[in-house]
């Protein structure tokens, strides 16, 4: 019990130190806040521009698509805030900083996440959630108790899912130090994939990202369930409710991958 409280205090101290360090240079922090929200804003602007030249995309109108965009953008921004900095792992492995992390009597994963929790990404998460609220509010959803539950549950599941993807892809650098931007193709690629209805994509590429990696359950299927639309690709309506289950499976896989990765870690000795 005491050990648990001690660990908690240590994590809190790590987080506090981070917060003070990052806000020490106010102007820099403000530029960071504004710059970061900009990336998410432009992601949404891109969707709007594409809808500027077409009335529908993959059989979905702008209002319908925005529900998918809202879930995806809001959840990705929140996951990025909480665990996105795990993508610095390759550098920790290369420079040997990970040795120090292993030596401390705290969990490796929570340490890494708290060591540089990017507070500047708060602006992104707030904007993403605002998009979600506006999109859901203007989509003309016929509210039932079940859909109210889903509109809360689906984004949370998506956060867990994206977080798992961040962790799982980062573990690649335990095996391949120079993997560089490879992880981006699944994390940011996954975000781009979930921004649009999956009917937009085709063939093996859609099969791989939608069901092989599970990205269809992030925004697309929950949005169908919220909108009360049938799946043009033929899956039954209850699939929209599978999102939390899929997220839990993803989290379990990510945790297992992390454990295997840490065990495989060999210090660069520098």
């Amino acid at each position: 019990m005491r050990a648990g409280a001690g660990a908690l205090a240590a994590y809190r101290a790590l987080l506090g130190a981070q917060a003070r360090a990052q806000t020490a240079y106010r102007t820099s922090f403000l530029v960071d806040l504004v710059g970061n929200v900009g990336f998410t804003v432009f992601d949404v602007v891109t969707v709007l521009v594409v809808f500027g030249v077409t009335r529908e995309l993959g059989g979905f109108t702008l209002r319908e698509t925005m529900v998918i965009v809202g879930i995806s953008t809001g959840a990705f921004a929140l996951a990025d805030l909480l665990v996105g900095n795990i993508e610095r792992l390759p550098r920790y492995v290369r420079t040997g900083l990970f040795d120090a992390v292993l030596l401390r009597p705290l969990g490796t994963l929570p340490q890494l996440l708290l060591m540089d929790l990017p507070l500047r990404k708060v602006s992104r998460a707030v904007f993403g959630l605002a998009v979600l609220v506006v999109a859901v509010g203007s989509a003309g959803i016929q509210w039932t108790a079940a859909r109210v539950l889903l509109v809360v549950l689906a984004p949370l599941a998506a956060v867990v899912f994206f977080g798992s993807v961040f962790v799982a892809t980062a573990t690649v650098s335990f095996f391949w130090v120079d993997s560089g931007e490879l992880a981006n193709s699944v994390t940011y690629g996954g975000r781009d994939f979930t921004t649009y209805p999956i009917t937009v994509y085709d063939g093996w590429f859609r099969a791989l990202f939608a069901y092989g990696l599970g990205f269809a359950f992030v925004g697309y299927h929950p949005a169908l369930a919220l909108l009360g639309r049938g799946d043009p690709l033929g899956l039954p309506g209850w699939v929209g409710w599978a999102a939390p289950g899929v997220a839990l499976v993803a989290a379990a896989i990510a945790a297992a991958a992390w454990r295997v990765g840490v065990r495989h870690y060999r210090s660069t000795g520098s």
Partner: protein
């Protein structure tokens, strides 16, 4: 302790051949340096290809019943996306902070002592890097795209040399922009803020996220003439997919050339100003 001018004065008898040899030597060594990062190149190509698929499907979905959108047909859009993914790494839109890092650490002092103007030597190094990127980063997506999507092959022979020229100018222009962004570190010590803003703005205004032709015409005109961004990516791609007749193609490359000259001149001006106020701490 006398003061010394930072940039060594060029030799009185400016020898063009010597200058060219130095330029080629720097570019060559940079080419070899980058060609050692093979694993990173493979990882980059995979990432570019994934985004190639993503962007391509989305843009193709926007093509209406008429078979065209904003003046592009399906094959032109596919070429636009896949060559764009390769060209992105050739012009190196993001991730170059070499100069800013060297200014922060003071290592830039060594650059100033060399008998080559810093803008020239960095440009030479960047062209060497770009040359390797053409082989390792541009060619792979250009080969992968057509395996999965019908693509547009230029119909007019003149498009090929014009595209080559346009891509080269884009590399030089992009280098100039990055140099300016990095050079803010002379005044700010840390160029992070400008780099973030550059990354943010350059993604959307170069035509990487969506072809700029999707925007209203007045905005297109404003972007092309008022900012260098469309000249970085959208122009070479529009030239390659023959979005416009030959005359407009030439005009676009002309605008690009003007921007390249302007930005390079700005680089030299900024460099001269910066050298007057640079203080390198430590020894």
């Amino acid at each position: 302790m006398g003061s010394l001018t930072a940039t060594v004065a060029p030799p009185a008898a400016s020898n063009v051949i010597l200058w060219f040899r130095t330029f080629r030597a720097i570019a060559g060594s940079s080419f070899r340096r980058y060609s050692t990062y093979r694993q990173a190149a493979v990882a980059g190509v995979v990432t570019n290809c994934v985004f190639g698929f993503l962007r391509c499907y989305v843009l193709l979905a926007a093509v209406g019943a008429a078979g065209t959108v904003a003046g592009y047909d399906r094959a032109q859009l596919a070429t636009f996306v896949w060559v764009g993914q390769g060209l992105l790494a050739v012009i190196l839109l993001w991730g170059w902070t070499d100069l800013a890092d060297r200014i922060r650490t003071g290592e830039v002092a060594a650059d100033l002592l060399r008998p080559v103007h810093p803008v020239t030597s960095y440009l030479a190094a960047d062209l060497g890097r770009a040359g390797y990127a053409v082989l390792a980063r541009l060619i792979p997506p250009v080969l992968v795209g057509p395996l999965f999507f019908p693509v547009h092959v230029p119909q007019r022979w003149a498009t090929w040399p014009l595209f080559a020229l346009s891509a080269l100018v884009a590399v030089v222009l992009c280098f100039g922009c990055r140099y300016l962004v990095n050079a803010t570190a002379f005044w700010l010590h840390d160029a992070r803020g400008p780099v973030i803003i550059w990354t943010l703005v350059s993604g959307v205004l170069t035509g990487l996220y969506f072809p700029l032709r999707f925007l209203p015409e007045w905005l297109q005109l404003l972007l092309w003439l008022g900012t260098p961004f469309p000249s970085l990516l959208q122009t070479p791609l529009d030239v390659l997919v023959e979005r416009d007749p030959a005359g407009t193609q030439l005009a676009l490359v002309g605008v690009q050339l003007c921007w390249a000259v302007l930005i390079l001149a700005a680089c030299r001006l900024v460099q001269r100003r910066a050298e007057r106020r640079l203080v390198v701490q430590g020894g």
